[in-house]
């Protein structure tokens, strides 16, 4: 897009960018387009029929999913509630565990460098693993059920939460903390009276944000056997019972929207 604007402008005015930049941008542009076209071909190589067939197929599929069988919703209400409970427990535990981790990975609190670097690296590695992959491993470890799902959510949200909060801690005003230290406060007093009041609103807001992420993650954890509504979804998919699947998807959609709305309002009130 960038070079399009450049070429049109060059007809009327002297060129805005030097020729070298233009050449670079054009090259990058073609590499990106080239890799995109290659990716499209590569991902479709195993597809029967190709792109045009797929579009026709969509119409057929939409008919399969509709009308959704809304009468299953009372029956799946229980797993849905369990999904939400899973997210609540996981968020709570993660919020507690994150406090020491966030303190240790904040540069201005953990002044001992090796500690800071180790926790940072640990959290960075933790964040690279997707939630469902964690769930697969924990289902292997603990067996099918809610428990592996909760553990997977805790570990997953710990990575995000500790990073966000340690960044908040790093951006606080250090002057009151130094004043307290100078007048003889010990480490815990400095943290409690100097740091906590500055970080608390952000902390609450991030916890709610992670709760939203956890709700969205927890609805699909069941696909790998980690409990909740996803388990029912997986069963119904296995039976090719598409109207039921659609009803569950609609339920998930509505619950996620409602929880996100509430959490957004709370966050707006907090900050």
């Amino acid at each position: 897009m960038n070079n399009q604007t450049n070429s049109t402008s060059s007809q009327m005015t002297p060129p805005l960018y030097p020729a070298k930049t233009k050449a670079q941008v054009t090259l990058i542009f073609f590499i990106v387009i080239g890799f995109y076209l290659f990716s499209m071909v590569w991902t479709q190589r195993q597809m029967v029929g190709g792109f045009t067939d797929a579009l026709g197929n969509m119409g057929v599929v939409i008919n399969k999913f509709f009308p959704p069988n809304l009468s299953v919703i009372p029956a799946v209400w229980d797993p849905m509630a369990q999904t939400i409970q899973m997210a609540i427990i996981a968020t709570t535990v993660a919020a507690i565990l994150t406090v020491p981790l966030a303190l240790l990975s904040a540069q201005n609190i953990a002044t001992f460098k090796p500690i800071y670097i180790t926790t940072r690296t640990f959290l960075n590695i933790l964040r690279t693993i997707p939630d469902l992959v964690l769930a697969v491993v924990f289902v292997g470890l603990f067996g099918i059920g809610l428990f592996p799902g909760i553990i997977a959510l805790i570990i997953f949200s710990l990575g995000i939460l500790a990073k966000l909060i340690s960044e908040t801690i790093e951006s606080v005003d250090m002057n009151p903390l130094e004043a307290m230290r100078a007048s003889g406060g010990n480490v815990f007093q400095v943290i409690y009276y100097g740091l906590v009041p500055q970080v608390l609103p952000q902390f609450a807001s991030f916890v709610l944000y992670v709760f939203e992420i956890n709700i969205r993650a927890s609805v699909v954890l069941g696909l790998v056997g980690a409990g909740g509504i996803g388990l029912v979804l997986d069963q119904q998919l296995g039976f090719y019972n598409y109207p039921n699947v659609m009803a569950i998807i609609i339920l998930i959609f509505i619950v996620v929207l409602i929880i996100e709305y509430i959490s957004n309002k709370l966050r707006e009130a907090l900050i």
Partner: protein, 266 residues
């Protein structure tokens, strides 16, 4: 020790006090509901964990190097899925982003409908979209591309609309006053202000999509996820170790490259 005293606490009005109590009760109710409702067999989980621990954890740290070729191939497919999906989303999100931006149209209805469409898309987890597309186009990588493309459009459209809302409208107004038409205003007033940030967000979303596309195979939408689910079903934890290692390496490398590019652009 207690020779100093803290300054007096500010007095709170009755309304604030009741509000606080109400919030506290609401939170307490949520927790009571949670802990009464959840049924986790803690004992069995712990027993299983003790029995399985030595069968799972040590093997994860001894990756099965013989599967390297297959893992690398699937990981490459994951990258192509994420790339094609992000690229499509980066384009699809542009009209939606403009639609949802408040300063681009005077009709509140249009803006609201744009925002509504975007938040509706965002409410769908990627993997649910993948389920729908696997049914539509069959269990292959292209279903993953479509799922990523649609799933990313929700977030990118929202970020784009925020970028558009934050531009300096005085430039556009000055052009309008000088008699520029709508197309000229778009190309010379709006575009130069938004392109770097649009690009930066698209690249950022590509980072997220690498993670997202690595799990789509669980529902049959191609990529490394296919191997994850096979390895888990066969209890082949050595192979799982290698897959985890591959994900960690690829995600870390792509994150650091993209962070570097984004710092250059903006």
């Amino acid at each position: 020790m207690a020779t100093y005293s803290l300054p007096p606490k500010p007095k709170r009005s009755l309304f604030k006090k009741t509000k606080r109590i109400m919030i506290f009760l609401a939170i307490a109710a949520v927790y009571v509901w949670t802990f009464l409702g959840i049924d986790v067999d803690w004992g069995r989980a712990a027993e299983r964990a003790i029995n399985n621990f030595h069968r799972v954890i040590p093997k994860l740290f001894h990756p099965d190097w013989e599967a390297t070729g297959e893992v690398a191939g699937k990981m490459f497919e994951t990258i192509t899925i994420a790339f094609a999906g992000s690229f499509m989303a980066a384009i699809l999100a542009i009209p939606l982003g403009f639609l949802a931006a408040q300063n681009m149209s005077r009709s509140r209805l249009l803006t609201a409908s744009g925002k509504w469409i975007l938040s509706a898309i965002r409410a769908f987890p990627d993997i649910i979209l993948a389920i729908l597309f696997v049914v539509a186009v069959g269990p292959n990588a292209f279903a993953g591309v479509l799922a990523i493309a649609i799933g990313s459009t929700g977030m990118l459209g929202k970020l784009y609309s925020e970028v558009v809302e934050s531009i300096d409208m005085r430039v556009v107004e000055a052009m309008e006053a000088n008699g520029a038409n709508k197309v000229q205003m778009l190309f010379y007033g709006v575009m130069p202000q938004i392109i770097p940030e649009f690009l930066s967000y698209a690249i950022y979303r590509f980072e997220i999509d690498i993670r997202a596309s690595s799990i789509l195979g669980i529902v049959g939408a191609g990529g490394i996820g296919t191997m994850i689910i096979f390895a888990a079903n066969n209890r082949n934890w050595n192979e799982m170790g290698l897959i985890l290692l591959a994900i960690i390496i690829v995600v870390t490398v792509i994150d650091s490259i993209s962070a570097r590019i984004r710092r250059k652009i903006v």
